[in-house]
């Protein structure tokens, strides 16, 4: 057979292969595959590729390298959307507060930045809450681990990384406040180093409903 007997269903083939169909969709797609000569043949021939994509370490590395640079573009899209949506909000700080809120919602999206961490920065009160991230030629990601002892495990927080002009650089927040570091609550932020410019940055944590200025924590770090 040279063609799929139902292309609208047939186009789910790769989603099936990648295991992203819901249980119900998967079951009905299985029935399509069993009946559609064309799709079944394609599926069998592509197995090696599918297994590489799903299970191969190299493929995952390729994806993690390629996927993260698009995060800023998502951010700029949100920013553009916000500017369009709330033109009356002239105060950049208010606007920023809105953005952080949305970024917090999007935090899950950027969770996949989690792989490939090359440097870890600890921002703990006893260390003076300042630290450095080095600009490495090969990029990679920096993980910032910071003290959040004052935080409540049941609550959500807004966490943003700001450059000196108060522009958000990136917000990729792991809300795993259950994670403990030497017995205390910590937060984690992961940043692709190549989105940073050298300079001073502030990591700001505030309550979900708090005004922008009343940060629960502010940590400073430098990118060199």
């Amino acid at each position: 057979m040279k063609e799929c007997n139902d292309p609208s269903i047939g186009q789910l083939l790769h989603a099936f292969e990648l295991g992203v169909l819901t249980e119900k969709e998967r079951e009905s797609f299985e029935l399509h595959l069993a009946q559609c000569e064309y799709c079944f043949e394609k599926f069998m021939q592509f197995q090696e590729v599918t297994l590489q994509i799903r299970a191969g370490e190299e493929a995952r590395e390729i994806v993690s390298d390629m996927a993260f640079p698009s995060a800023p573009s998502i951010l700029s899209r949100i920013r553009a959307w916000l500017l369009e949506l709330i033109p009356r909000l002239k105060s950049p700080k208010l606007l920023l507060a809105q953005m952080i809120l949305i970024l917090a919602i999007y935090a899950g999206f950027t969770n996949w930045l989690g792989t490939g961490v090359q440097q870890t920065l600890y921002l703990m009160p006893e260390r003076g809450s300042v630290g450095n991230i080095l600009m490495l030629d090969d990029g990679g990601k920096a993980e910032i681990i910071f003290d959040m002892s004052k935080a409540n495990r049941q609550k959500q927080y807004l966490i943003g990384v700001f450059s000196p002009d108060d522009e958000i650089v990136i917000s990729n927040v792991d809300y795993s406040l259950n994670t403990e570091f030497r017995g205390r609550i910590i937060g984690k932020v992961r940043i692709p180093v190549n989105v940073l410019m050298p300079g001073n940055y502030i990591l700001r944590v505030s309550n979900e409903n708090a005004a922008y200025d009343s940060a629960l924590y502010e940590y400073e770090f430098m990118v060199k």
Binding site: L12, H14, V20, A34, E48, Q52, S70, Y106
Partner: protein
């Protein structure tokens, strides 16, 4: 009595024919599981049962143009696939029972290596040219399903499926021609 007659009678409501048909399928599916080097008896039973349930709920509505056994083998094959790709039990599936003989001859190790390299090259090219595909994959590695992925990426689920089918076609094209256009 051959399988097609048995099928016809079962489809017409003959209970005896139906139970004979399912006995045959049960043996056949178990063989297929064994052929795919499944060792755990409980796993085999579970998968065979799942496949039999699907066959039982579908076979009466169907008009088998490509052959009943071929269809049934595929049902079982897909259940095996689902099993192997769950919880990282990754494995390629083989169909020895019907007319997919070409699948049996596994390529030699050298060819295997070369194929793997080629796949990775093509994959890298496509992922590099389709950022959204990279993002969908990254989220799929996190265990998200298409509706959640789409939501996180602010695209529709249909668009997500469309993206995936385009990316797949590009990988195929690259494997055929050695490049992406």
């Amino acid at each position: 009595m051959d399988i097609d007659d048995l099928l016809k009678e079962a489809q017409n409501g003959d209970k005896k024919a139906e139970s004979r048909l399912f006995e045959i399928l049960c043996l056949r599916f178990t063989k297929l599981a064994n052929y795919n080097s499944m060792k755990n008896k409980q796993d085999i039973e579970d998968i065979v049962q799942k496949a039999l349930i699907t066959v039982a709920s579908e076979y009466k509505k169907m008009d088998f143009q490509t052959g009943f056994l071929k269809w049934a083998d595929r049902i079982m094959t897909l259940k095996l696939w689902n099993h192997f790709t769950k919880r990282r039990r990754w494995k390629k599936i083989q169909i020895p029972l019907s007319d997919y003989q070409h699948e049996i001859n596994a390529p030699s190790t050298d060819e295997d290596q070369e194929l793997r390299r080629m796949i990775l090259r093509c994959f890298e090219m496509v992922v590099g040219s389709e950022k959204l595909y990279a993002n969908v994959l990254a989220l799929s590695y996190e265990g998200y399903k298409a509706p959640e992925i789409s939501q996180k990426m602010s695209i529709t689920t249909n668009y997500c499926y469309y993206l995936l089918s385009i990316a797949r076609a590009k990988i195929e094209e690259c494997l055929e021609k050695g490049k992406v256009e």
